[in-house]
């Protein structure tokens, strides 16, 4: 029964997965292959601009550091939006197309529908991260065969957890909104996180800098992990992981009691 539901959920999600993955992979590759051009520009960068660059991690010395400053910023913006859309549509699609009325009156307990949706969320977001990691790493190898794969993998792993956290939060938002709500509303969540994250980098003020801890983007920050090699913000990671586990339990009960018609 769960297999049937999983097959159906994957079949219905793979097209959007392929589209988002293709766009993301293409973007990452394009940003990576223009590294030599950027390297030349960095050589002649005026001192005033170097000060601005310091706010975003400083001047990159190699392709991996360049990735953390430039390429990762695209991943940081597009990935969370895909995660939020996926989380929301896993709840809302049946309701918008009104197939929920037939599906949720079969002999299948709604908890199996919930489990299948959560598995799809975890698997697709992990595949998304894996594909983008491989595409980025392989492209970087053309320019620098000594690229540190472990540190790059750590960054993509942390981003993957960020995506899953955002996906679960969007799933919750879908459960708290009325059936038929436009999935685009879920994009507000990552956009707010991204804006807060950017604001936190604009000043040295402690309060403003600490705003980043309000988002699950702090523990997956590319400059912190790759450029500064400061490791992962474990406290931020732990808090958002705990919130996600709490939301998974909340969603489990909320999903079964939700009026989907």
């Amino acid at each position: 029964m769960l297999n049937t539901l999983l097959k159906m959920e994957f079949k219905r999600s793979y097209k959007s997965f392929l589209i988002w993955s293709s766009i993301m992979v293409a973007t990452l590759i394009i940003f990576t292959v223009i590294y030599p051009l950027y390297a030349d520009i960095f050589e002649i960068l005026p001192p005033q601009l170097e000060v601005i660059m310091d706010a975003w991690g400083g001047k990159p010395d190699n392709i991996l550091e360049y990735f953390s400053i430039e390429t990762a910023s695209m991943y940081f913006m597009v990935g969370p939006i895909y995660a939020s859309m996926l989380g929301f549509t896993l709840v809302s699609t049946f309701e918008r197309e009104k197939s929920a009325e037939v599906l949720y009156t079969t002999r299948v307990d709604k908890k199996y529908f919930y489990i299948s949706k959560i598995i799809v969320l975890f698997v697709l977001l992990t595949l998304f991260s894996l594909i983008n990691f491989l595409a980025s790493y392989i492209t970087m190898l053309f320019f620098d065969t000594n690229t540190e794969v472990v540190i790059l993998a750590l960054y993509f792993l942390m981003m993957n957890i960020t995506f899953i956290v955002i996906g679960i939060m969007s799933f919750t938002i879908a459960l708290l909104t009325k059936p038929g709500t436009n999935p685009l509303i879920s994009m507000t969540l990552p956009i707010i996180f991204i804006i807060i994250s950017y604001i936190s980098k604009l000043s040295d003020n402690t309060i403003i800098t600490n705003l980043k801890y309000l988002t699950p983007l702090a523990f997956s920050d590319a400059t912190t992990i790759i450029m500064e090699k400061s490791g992962v913000e474990w406290l931020n990671l732990t808090i958002f992981t705990a919130i996600s586990v709490g939301l998974l339990i909340f969603n489990y009960y909320k999903f079964q009691k939700r009026v989907s018609i």
């Binding site: 029964m1 049937t4 219905r12 197939s99 037939v102 949720y104 002999r107």
Partner: protein, 288 residues
């Protein structure tokens, strides 16, 4: 099979159902009749575990229904008033999905597809309203459930599909199924139902066996040419250019004996139709 007692459901301040009480016995085909907004779909959705009731009780097989009552739905087939499936699926894939979900083989589904003449070459999004309804019927019947709950099952079907559907209902009844259906097509209800309930403004105002209903009600009589007739039990006399019509509540033998004294070209004596009964019960609403 289904027992509903004083069931009430409001959506905020707007009424879904006010006080519904009815009983559907095993093996019966039960027609649930009412105008739009009377509360038919609300009752059906509560029975299917899609909505939570406010008060009262609703039982299927002596088990109280509730949200996500999947254990009660094991042997229930459900057809909503609008059949919606996955637009991106082909029809055979959609049917296979439900077969897999119910862990049944395809033999009866294939028979249903043939009998309803369902177009299986298209994607769901390319189906007409009527073909989507046929797909809904296949999905509801494919596992030969003991209880069928059908909301407006014949709406949108062509006459051939309607006949095929009504034949299927009678066959499932023979197999021991209980069928609860709401419909606006009162002619269909009259053809197959053993019992009917009328719902008005969220309240069941009549629940009766079809046979009893017919016996209690009058006959419609139409005579041509016009004759001067006066018998006990004649009401609502109407004279057209060539025919004389009236309702007759009295002894049918007395009527026949009286009619035999006239030289008539045409005589029609028939039971009142369900549609006429419906109009009788709801005409105040219609005029309002």
């Amino acid at each position: 099979m289904i027992k509903v007692n004083n069931l009430k459901k409001y959506y905020g301040i707007s009424r879904g159902i006010e006080a519904v009480t009815l009983e559907v016995k095993p093996g019966e085909i039960f027609g649930f009749i009412g105008p739009n907004g009377a509360g038919k779909t609300t009752l059906i959705r509560i029975l299917m575990g899609l909505l939570e009731k406010d008060s009262g009780s609703a039982l299927i097989n002596n088990q109280e229904v509730h949200m996500n009552s999947y254990e009660i739905n094991q042997d229930v087939g459900y057809l909503p008033s609008e059949s919606n499936f996955f637009d991106d699926y082909k029809v055979p894939d959609m049917i296979k999905f439900f077969q897999d979900l119910r862990e049944i083989d395809s033999s009866y589904s294939i028979e249903l597809i043939k009998r309803l003449n369902l177009d299986v070459s298209k994607k769901v999004k390319e189906l007409s309203f009527g073909n989507k309804k046929k797909l809904g019927i296949v999905v509801a019947l494919m596992h030969k459930p003991k209880l069928l709950i059908l909301d407006e099952p014949t709406t949108g079907l062509d006459p051939l599909a309607q006949k095929a559907f009504l034949d299927l209902m009678l066959e499932h009844k023979k197999l021991g199924a209980t069928i609860f259906l709401s419909s606006h097509v009162l002619n269909d209800v009259q053809k197959v139902c053993d019992k009917v309930s009328f719902i008005k403004n969220g309240i069941v105002i009549l629940s009766e066996d079809m046979d009893t209903l017919k016996e209690q009600e009058h006959k419609k009589v139409s005579l041509s040419p016009i004759v001067s007739l006066n018998l006990e039990g004649m009401e609502n006399r109407k004279t057209n250019s060539a025919t004389f019509e009236f309702e007759f509540h009295g002894d049918i033998n007395a009527l026949l004996k009286e009619l035999s004294q006239y030289k008539l070209k045409d005589v029609t004596i028939r039971d009142v139709t369900l549609e006429e009964l419906f109009l009788k019960y709801y005409e105040n609403d219609i005029h309002a």
